[in-house]
Symmetry: C2
Subunit: 209 residues, 2 copies
Amino acid sequence: MVACGRPYHHGDLSRALVLAGRRILERDGPAALSLRAVAREAGVSPAAPYHHFKDKGELLAAVAREGWIALGEAIGKARFAATDPRHALNNIGVAYVCFARDHPALYRIMYDSASDQADMPDHATNGDSGWRHVREALIEAGADPADERDLELATIAAWCSAHGVAEMAGFKEFASLKNAMGGEEAFIRAVLSHLGTFTHRQRDDPAES
Amino acid sequence: MVACGRPYHHGDLSRALVLAGRRILERDGPAALSLRAVAREAGVSPAAPYHHFKDKGELLAAVAREGWIALGEAIGKARFAATDPRHALNNIGVAYVCFARDHPALYRIMYDSASDQADMPDHATNGDSGWRHVREALIEAGADPADERDLELATIAAWCSAHGVAEMAGFKEFASLKNAMGGEEAFIRAVLSHLGTFTHRQRDDPAES
DNA sequence: GCATCAATCTGAACGGCGTCAAGATATCTT
DNA sequence: AAGATATCTTGACGCCGTTCAGATTGATGC
């Protein structure tokens, strides 16, 4: 009745498919992430996934879910790595953009999947998530916890702007500027410093992250 | 045959394909925008487009280019509609997000096409473009035109954050908040007001609420 | 006017895709 | 042990992007 380990014919195929999808994503990019390719990578027939996911979109959503969890963890780590709450938001912004830079294919899938459902997945907004970290970091930085609406707007603004920077920071157009500034992270910090939510950067010390 | 003064066998097929693509985009969404569907819509064989575009990506880029021009015009219009330069940036931000809301499929194609080439198309950054409008609006709002680097960073920050808001403003998750605020535009304005670039702000200010 | 040439378009084909229905196979329940 | 059930394979369908040989057209030179 339990069968936690490898219950069925193949084993936990559902999990294996998600892992295979992630492998393809990192190896060959988002364009190569077809349902058939995932099945091939997992060593099963092209129709096998349909016993675990309604369609391709649901499989991609499962892959994306792992991305949201990983992003939440990266944000949490960045938040608590800062001793001063004023630097926490700054660190969060940089960590967000760096996550997107380091996992571009996964990041793309995450938002593709989100916009297909016209909503962010629960893992982005509930529980021990990145969203909550941002919200709490805003409070610790001085936002009024009583003004619920303003707090939510501030969280949305912070998240949206980080997303925008994350999607565009990789454009080649900015390469020379990045170079002139001595690295990509300096560029990211500078762009974020122009956005109200992340403005607590004075040139004091090298960054942790 | 009714020639209608058209140059070649079919006429200006290149233009006809772009128009057909845009029609499909607005009627059936970005997922329906296949090369074959465009050819079908234009009344030619599936192979015909290959005499005008190297591949599907190039056709989509041509469709996207029209989007960038339209976006630039919308931004310019919003900029000059404001009497006070301080409100110009605010208007631009709202106009940007509203453009994305009103042409979601086109907007999606624009950035998909851009990220495929890892660069924004020329029409976004050169000439009478939205990018230039933002840059000049920043100067009129008080940015130092002599500090070239800072000005470029500010423009990037403004554009990125507007893009982020545009991509996320449609999420159903925010529906109740929008409702409570009395409409989507009020919501957009409120989110943008949390971002430094779209409000009058000074570089070394502490966080505004 | 006419032959030639290059540009343009068609038709058929290839492999890959998402998806489904039918049948085979392994596991669970009793 | 046997039936029920979940899992996987095989094969097929239509659509996709792309290529290529050949038909058709407009322009060009004589």
